[in-house]
Amino acid sequence: MTHSTPLLAARGAGRRFGQTSALEPVDLEVWDGDALALVGPNGAGKSTLLALLAGALRASSGKVERRKGTRVGWAPQRPAQYGRLSARENLELFARLEGEHDPRAAAERLLEAFELPGKAAPSANLSVGNRQRLNLAISLLGDPQVLLLDEPTAALDPDQRRRLWERVAALRARGGAVVFATQNLEEVERMASRVAALREGRLVFAGTSDEYDRAHVESLSA
């Protein structure tokens, strides 16, 4: 089925924090099946753009549009979960908030899928990698069509990385999309269909991954 509107779009969306501009107005569209990589140095505005797209931050200028009925999952760079609750309790709580029909079953499914400990230990006691897995698992609650992932593989072991990208591929195959921020060029090359490069809060490149490769090579050889 072909749609005339993107799943998600930033229309001149920018964000200021007081006098500081974290993101200059950006125009960007996310379509069905997209895997859009956000690249750029630290402080370029990638996390701010993802937070705007997720609806976690309000745009200071412009707006973010979402196709009607589109559900979005978001995994911020720093895990967002309750440290005093166990992995299961976190998943159940967010499942209820996301409106899952059977929150317990959804939590159980994701605990298994991400190989998370089901015992009652507080999630603050989990390893960095397990906290990141829980962060990603929570973002999958509510069956989202678009996944917004901020440096998702930074703390994952190779096996978990592979499984994550398999899940992403399955989502894209169902017509969903993923937008991910990364510093890993290999991931960009292997996983992204499109690339948006940011520098000092400005969008400096937007195109296909092939176009980005060529531009990157040219900039290196210039």
Partner: protein
């Protein structure tokens, strides 16, 4: 389950997982109840006062023609203190080591000075230097006042016997010697039997006036003895006022301290956990997040307040202190606890939104709670601006609500007024907290 209830349930779960905080939450009301129970029982206790008799008081004394049983008279007069007879040396020793709080000494020659009725005999009072010495002084003054009243009554009765003798005539005694008095009435009769002349008419007029004047002697003597008499109005409250007062302050203080701290800390903790963005993207509105903290504060205030009220009630029942039992007013207290907890919680949420970090929010809440409480303690009649400021904060309204609920025979007007104040303040602070909560997203 709605979203506020989901977050409230999560917060209760988090509280249960924080053993130190939970321990303090359980211990705090018990400690407060114990302390206020002690204060209440102190308020009704009789301080131990030494009684040193250097005049060797006899078992009975006749003053103004009335016989006084000395022991009984002292017992009657000392309703507010426990008098213990001690030797001068033992009394000094016990005053020094704090076993008695004062020493009342009857010096040599006390009774003879009293019988002489020429000058007032003196009792000597020595007080400890502790903080309750002023209270003991008042109670000893009350004791002396009570003795004076009894003596006054005896003297007035004695004087009235002479007046009666002068009016009606008859036999009596004066300074131990028997006397026979004609009396004004009989003198009038004799004069009427005599040939009436202008001089007998003058004497009859005089005797008529004198009789009228002496007939009012009883009231005149009484009013001279007490130019102003204090008559206590019937009690308007259902309990002992001090008991209701300390309970009201204890409840308001506990709730203000804990609800403020809890709401401020728990809202700021949402940002520390990095979940505000995750919630705010459509799962839970910032307003719902703020109200969930208000609900948490109200729930904790209800649980702690009831624990305090129950513990206090048990302590004073066990201690045999009458008055102030909260049992019948528990339903009103429940309403007050929820309203006060919510109102303070909204203020706490505002502090949490402004401070943004749980540690800063907790510190700010601790720093803010003291001035709020002290403002509420300053009588508005003494410093009106302090009263105005205090009216803009929930503590003073919570105190008035609880005081009225626990003490007044008909508390409805005051409870309704203070309840509306708490709701209004909660709405204002909650609204401001909602605006401030945007800062949590940054």
């Amino acid at each position: 389950m709605n979203r506020i209830a989901l977050l409230l349930r999560k917060d209760v779960l988090v509280l249960r997982r924080s053993p130190l905080l939970l321990g303090i939450l359980i211990a705090y009301p018990l400690a407060i109840a114990l302390l206020i129970g002690l204060v209440a029982s102190y308020g009704s206790s009789k301080p131990r006062v030494a009684f040193v008799d250097e005049d060797n008081l006899p078992a009975t004394v006749v003053l103004g023609g009335k016989r006084f049983d000395v022991g009984h008279t002292i017992d009657e007069a000392s309703k507010k203190v426990k008098l213990v007879r001690l030797s001068p040396e033992e009394a000094k020793r016990q005053l020094d080591d704090g076993r008695v709080v004062a020493v009342v000494t009857v010096p040599p020659g006390f009774i003879s000075t009293l019988r002489g009725m020429v000058r007032s005999p003196q009792l000597e009072l020595q007080l400890s230097t502790g903080t309750i010495s002023s209270r003991v002084e008042q109670q000893v003054q009350a004791l002396v006042y009570s003795l004076n009243r009894q003596l006054q009554r005896a003297y007035i009765a004695s004087n009235l016997r002479y007046v009666t003798l002068i009016l009606h005539g008859g036999d009596g005694s004066f300074l131990g010697a028997p006397i026979t008095v004609l009396g004004i009435e009989k003198a009038q009769g004799l004069l009427r039997e005599m040939p009436q002349t202008p001089r007998t008419a003058q004497l009859l007029d005089f005797l008529h006036d004198a009789r009228l004047a002496l007939a009012n002697t009883n009231d005149a003597l009484s009013s001279t003895a007490h130019p102003i008499e204090l008559v206590r109005a019937p009690a308007r409250g259902r309990t002992w006022a001090l008991s209701a007062e300390v309970q009201a302050y204890a409840l308001a203080l506990t709730i203000t301290f804990l609800a403020l701290l809890l709401a401020a800390g728990s809202l700021a903790a949402e940002r520390d956990e990095n979940v505000v963005g995750r919630l705010a993207r459509g799962l839970v509105g910032l307003g719902q997040l703020v109200w969930s903290k208000v609900a948490l504060a109200a729930a904790v205030a209800l649980a702690l307040g009831l624990a305090i009220a129950l513990a206090f009630g048990l302590i004073i029942e066990i201690g045999g202190v009458t008055g102030g039992e909260p049992w019948r007013r528990l339903p009103l207290l429940v309403v007050g606890l929820v309203l006060a907890g919510g109102s303070v919680g909204a203020l706490g949420a505002l502090l949490g939104a402004l401070a943004r970090e749980a540690r800063s929010a907790s510190l700010v809440a601790v720093l803010v709670v003291m001035p709020i409480v002290f403002l509420g303690l300053i009588p508005s009649e003494v410093v009106p601006p302090a009263g105005w400021l205090s009216d803009a904060l929930p503590f003073a309204h919570a105190v008035r609500f609880f005081r009225s609920a626990l003490y007044d025979l008909s508390p409805w007007g005051a409870v309704l007024r203070e309840g509306l104040w708490l709701v209004a303040l909660g709405a204002v602070f909650g609204g401001l907290a909602r605006l401030g909560a945007r800062r949590l997203l940054v």
